[in-house]
Symmetry: C2
Subunit: 347 residues, 2 copies
Amino acid sequence: MDKKKETITIYDVARVAGVSMATVSRVVNGNSNVKPATRKKVLGVIEQLGYRPNAVARGLASKKTKTVGVVIPDISNAFYSEVTRGIEDIATMYRYNIILCNSDLQQERETQLIETLLEKQVDGLLFLGGNVREEHLRIYEHTNVPVVLVATKVEDNALPAVGIDQHEAAYDATVHFIQGGHKKIALIGGPLTDLVKGYPRYIGYKHALEEHQIEFDEHLIRIGDYRYDSGYQAMSTLLSLTDVPTSVVVLSDEMAVGAIHAILDNGKKIPEDIEVIGYNNIPIASQVRPLLSTVDVPMYDLGAVAMRLLTKYMHGEEVQTGQVTLPHSLKLRSSTRPLGSIEGEQS
Amino acid sequence: MDKKKETITIYDVARVAGVSMATVSRVVNGNSNVKPATRKKVLGVIEQLGYRPNAVARGLASKKTKTVGVVIPDISNAFYSEVTRGIEDIATMYRYNIILCNSDLQQERETQLIETLLEKQVDGLLFLGGNVREEHLRIYEHTNVPVVLVATKVEDNALPAVGIDQHEAAYDATVHFIQGGHKKIALIGGPLTDLVKGYPRYIGYKHALEEHQIEFDEHLIRIGDYRYDSGYQAMSTLLSLTDVPTSVVVLSDEMAVGAIHAILDNGKKIPEDIEVIGYNNIPIASQVRPLLSTVDVPMYDLGAVAMRLLTKYMHGEEVQTGQVTLPHSLKLRSSTRPLGSIEGEQS
DNA sequence: CTGTTAGCGCCTTCAG
DNA sequence: CTGAAGGCGCTAACAG
């Protein structure tokens, strides 16, 4: 009675049920051209034999694997794990499974992962974060497997991508402070060499100042690596300035929390002395004191929408546009003062 | 020059290189029985044609897919995403890819995911969290695919599993407070119906009290769902007791942070008035103020070790024992007082 | 060292 | 509504 070992195939089912393989295949695939009686009989045998269709064989024959590849910088990063959740939920909905790969943003590894995924015959590919390089483009060019970028994009929009308007988000956060009457608004951002996140956000901040006739002060800029420690460090140096800023836009929630602690450790009050706005709205933003005001990025939706878009490509459906920008908003909590709570400001 | 569409196969390579499929297969698979000259020629053609081996066909022929299935409660949960990181890193090391599936701890879904993964012919299976049910056991019995449980286990150790000693971890945390001179030690735990986490930890707490002749007080027990809000709630009710506890063991870091905030909101000081110990040591533990003292669970290693163990099973290697218990420790930070900082206590 | 020959388990026309 | 037959792309003996 040890059912281990023996692989039972569609052929076995056919034999026992007294029909052909084709018929079994039809009932397994829900093809309607099968007489109810036959179907019932086959289903019975399948149950009885404990038959389990071999997806690999099926994939070879049908050229569809019902699995999509997901290349992600780091699954242990709260932002990406939330996006991945969105991806997986929609994938499940459309009966796809995902092969997850961490790239750690290493160029070589990214390329190699894409190759591996393609070898595994994924029906589609989701590429998150990271920069899309020439090399990738060349690979994509030579394949029919659809690709959708998430939380990143490529110049001239050569590839479908879903994300938010990074420039505008940083702009909005900065304008919020300007409207609050601030003049000395610091920025703790990411590497400006990063054309997808770091740079556009930086420009958004800068534009906000310019448009409101506030002088841009280089001394108020700090570049971190998006993590807690760098946020703490950056804020500490900002605090040691003769002219301490009264507000700071921090381009990641983790850095923002680090900044908050640096401020608190410095004996200053938030938001009374210094106001802080973070970026992304990951869970920790609502689990620290003071509650972190931040740019609310629809992480889950980013993944969900991207996966949905990918299914359209995989199914050959018409797609209006491959470039989708999801809305963001400012989630104001207690690391900022309510607008209007200070000496009169407009709008 | 549009290489799209045309699928180039091992046969094409063989033809162009003027050798047989077998030879091409050999060089692709690094078989040494190939004359260097031939190998070089074949490699050249592969490059020239842009040949990419079809892993699905290979899987069908070799009965190995080089992919393992991972059933996880929720990838957006910090604990599991960290474990998954460990899994993926080791999987990469052994050239495996992982198919990731969220179960949300739903019994039916778990079963269905295992089935799907088996259909996809994964070489191995990792089942995280969640309870292993009769149904699962029955499936495992009828397959040769090795399974390793992570952060969960099954009665009588019928399946290989890697985790920590839950009972002891809770015991240790409790004892720490006892040694600190506490008598009123509260517990914020998880459902006692959970025989893998909730119950054993609860018992560990209880044993610690018993062994140190401290009366168990039911009023000091709260059951949460491991999340921030429930920790806040639970602590709030504890704070409203006439006899407020002086310390609290919280069985998840998120609940612990919630508890911390409830205490702070109540105007009490940590650790002066109340000491708090969390559980797991996820990133947030070191990103809140006061820094959370907690049970350090080697999350990454849990995943890494489990994956490593799985490779042994998949490769038919000898395995000493399938039951591995990784060490935990108390990570003392600032939500607890240093031992000995209060009226003398022994060791 | 290299080629031949069977399949792996299933889908998919094409007949009937 | 059902069966027969030919692959899908590759691996794995087995010869030579």
